[in-house]
């Protein structure tokens, strides 16, 4: 079953099981969503439960907050990652805080589905990775599935949660296929999983980067490096315990995500491992991430997105093997890129 279809089946199941569940969003009715994730649900559940909304993201989330106050469990679709910002105030200032504000009297069982990430050749605002904004916000849970089975199970668990959940769908994986047990009992939303055990280096990925990381693990294995691959699944809370345990065995850590590096999830995870597992580290941890740039035009997105080679290069670096940054002194004062490239072209040692 395709990833997108698995999410569709999860939504179908939630609508069937709980009459308080309803879906809201732009174009989710007759069209079935721009990615067809809600395909067929309007016909089956009717316009009171599959609600096409005006084109106003703050309005969508704000009315979902009101519906939750009335006892409903709204599942909101934000059409693309880059369109969530008009709703940012309602998410951060109200959705995330209402439970604490009311001392637990008002629950906010709202799920916000966001197709996120790049790699599909989209125009601006259609390829972003906004997870850091949300995992920095107390009161929210943030999750991202990487497989059809998780796509199905985690949307059901997110809807069943009494906390607001930002559910990030790796849009470039919508057509990935995999076995899906539709009757599986959804596990906890809070844990990561080891997709591949290995003793040499811990690679941490989530959402769209899991596929790339798996490929990297396979290639690395051919070169004699055993990668332990962790799929985080949950970004808030982070399953830091799982990562710590793994790093205590491997002594090496690579974290990879599409999102920009500064202030990102990789920074959080590396800092946590440095605090809690410093003495087990054999090498400085490495982040393989998107660049600190506005998401580039489609023809240049490959420059931004971490690909197989960049993940492998990160693995080489923590393994102490030859890698792109060998000639760079990490402690040297920063140069302008022009100076650096000029010196490099002149054949000078960068250090």
């Amino acid at each position: 079953m395709a990833f997108g279809r698995a999410i569709n089946r999860g939504l179908h199941r939630a609508l069937t099981d709980d009459p308080k569940v309803l879906l809201m969003g732009e174009d989710i009715g007759a069209l079935g969503g721009v990615f067809r994730i809600t395909d067929g649900l309007l016909e089956e559940f009717g316009p009171e439960r599959v609600v096409d909304t005006p084109l106003a993201e703050s309005g969508i989330v704000g009315t979902a907050v009101g519906l939750a106050m009335r006892g409903y469990r709204p599942v909101v679709e934000i059409q693309f990652d880059g369109f969530v910002y008009p709703a940012f105030d309602q998410i951060v200032a109200n959705l995330a805080k209402l439970r604490a504000r009311t001392q637990g009297r008002v629950a906010m069982p709202v799920t916000i589905r966001i197709p996120f990430g790049g790699g599909i050749g989209s125009p601006e605002h259609h390829s972003e990775s906004p997870e850091a904004y949300f995992l920095h916000t107390p009161g929210l849970r943030v999750v991202s599935p990487s497989s059809p089975q998780d796509g199905h199970d985690m949307i059901r668990a997110a809807i069943a949660s009494d906390d607001p959940v930002v559910y990030l769908e790796p849009k470039r994986c919508y057509h990935d296929k995999g076995e899906v047990d539709l009757d599986a009992v959804p596990g906890p939303l809070t844990t990561g999983t080891v997709l591949r055990p290995g003793r040499d280096v811990t690679v941490v990925a989530y959402g769209p980067m899991v596929r790339t990381a798996l490929q990297a693990a396979e290639v690395a294995a051919e070169e004699g490096v055993e990668v332990e691959l962790i799929d985080l699944r949950s970004l808030s809370p982070l399953d830091t315990g799982l990562v710590e345990c793994s790093v205590r065995r491997t002594g090496r850590l690579v974290v990879t995500h599409e999102a920009s590096r500064t202030g990102g999830l990789g920074a959080e995870l590396v800092a946590t491992v440095a605090e809690r597992a410093f003495h087990w580290l054999e090498a400085p941890p490495v982040r393989v991430t998107g660049l600190d740039i506005p998401y580039p035009p489609a023809k240049l997105e490959h420059v931004h997105l971490p690909d197989l080679d960049r993940v492998l290069d990160g693995i080489d670096r923590v393994m102490g093997r030859p890698n792109a940054l060998d000639s760079v002194d990490a402690f040297a004062a920063p140069q302008t890129a022009e100076q650096f490239l000029a010196e490099h072209a002149a054949g000078k040692e960068a250090r």
């Binding site: 009315t63 009101g66 008009p86 849970r141 809370p237």
Partner: protein
């Protein structure tokens, strides 16, 4: 009662909107007002005395809270002085199951809907963000993000429709909030889904220091017509006009007629909050002009015009106000603050491992100090 003028079919603005609908003129004399009179059939002297008492009590709450702020008992207070008719008239128009979505200034409305005065003051003391249970009081937690609650009210009303209930939802906001995207989006959603919502805008002429003309070049009540929402513009210092207009809007919502917008034209006679200094931006003569339109004075003049025993009404209101003030003072003296660990309690419904870790870390930190955290 018919609803001809406000039917959705008539969704175009009046070419020349009346300045504002009044029931009581400036001298307190009741004038015929066909737009509002049908909703005032039960008004008698006892009802007028009740309105007087409620306005006096919330004014006393306001005065008392302002004093308590000056004495250091409260961190801040947003006064409602001058807006008593708008708050009392609209609150008394509501029925049992109707639900209020207030901003931070509707302390009078909340009190009249059954929220304990102490629960209001605890918020402004800085003890809690919400002192009461929205489910039992029908009053949502007050909203400090300007206009954000308008969307919550509409969403709640969308749920009411799905529940086949006839409850109405009323959202309070000020003139400043009408510039917010959320209030405009709320009108769009309410109109599209015909949600049973009353938009109650207290135009008190000031958004902190910014005059209403900065928010809107036309009457605020003109704007909803563009969204397909009928509106009423009433004298917000005329408690009967506010009562009738809100009743009319609530009745329309409950009958499935959709949203209505009510602008009550009033005046904030005090500061924005106790931290504000209106003398920096407000002309004294303007304030003086509005003092002469005091809503309680207007009602007393009306009682006099009816030959009622105004002194007796005033005395009874004062007794109720004194009782509230005494109760509040006594209750505040007994207040204790929450334990440090409580800050972790309701962030999530289900356990969050990182937060649990921080909770343990803080507990360990505090055990280093005798007395559990008091240095």
């Amino acid at each position: 009662m018919t609803d001809v003028d406000l039917s959705t079919e008539a969704a175009s603005p009046p070419t020349c909107p009346p300045d504002q609908l009044q029931v009581l003129d400036a001298a307190g004399v009741r004038r015929p007002q066909p737009e509002l009179d049908p909703w005032l059939g039960d008004v008698d002297e006892a009802m007028l005395a009740r309105l007087h008492r409620d306005m006096t009590v919330i004014r006393r709450l306001d005065t008392e809270a302002t004093h308590l702020q000056r004495q250091g008992e409260l961190a801040l207070w947003p006064p409602l002085l001058g807006q008593e008719a708008s708050q009392v008239g609209s609150a008394l128009a509501l029925r049992g199951a109707d639900v209020v979505f207030p901003s931070y200034r509707e302390n009078g409305v909340a009190l009249l809907r059954g929220v304990e005065a102490l629960d209001l003051l605890r918020v402004w003391r800085g003890s809690t963000f919400s002192g009461w249970d929205p489910a039992t009081t029908g009053v949502a937690t007050q909203q400090l993000i300007i206009g954000a609650q308008a969307l919550h009210a509409v969403g709640y009303a969308m749920g009411v429709v799905r529940d086949r209930s006839d409850a109405a939802t009323i959202v309070y906001f000020g003139d400043g909030a009408t510039s917010q995207g959320d209030v405009n989006e709320a009108m769009i959603f309410a109109a599209s889904y015909q949600a049973p919502v009353v938009f109650l805008c207290q135009n008190n002429h000031w958004a902190i220091s910014e005059p209403v003309r900065l928010q809107s070049r036309r009457h605020i009540a003109d704007r909803p017509w563009g969204f397909g929402i009928p509106s009423l513009r009433v004298d917000g210092n005329d408690v009967l006009a506010v009562l009738a207009a809100t009743r009319r809007a609530v009745e329309r919502a409950a009958a499935g007629g959709g949203p209505t917008f009510v602008e009550t034209v009033t005046y904030r006679m005090g500061p924005h909050t106790t931290a504000d200094d209106p003398t920096r931006y407000q002309a004294p003569e303007e304030l003086e002009a509005w003092r002469r339109r005091d809503p309680i004075d207007r009602l007393e003049a009306h009682l006099e015009s009816l030959g009622a025993e105004v002194e007796a009404v005033r005395a009874e209101s004062a007794t109720a106000a004194d009782a509230l003030a005494a109760d509040v003072r006594a209750a505040l003296a007994l207040l204790t603050e929450a334990a440090p660990d409580s800050v972790f309690e309701h962030v999530y419904a289900e356990p969050h491992q990182e937060l649990e870790r921080q909770r343990r870390e803080l507990a360990l930190h505090l055990t280093q100090f005798e007395g559990g955290g008091q240095e």
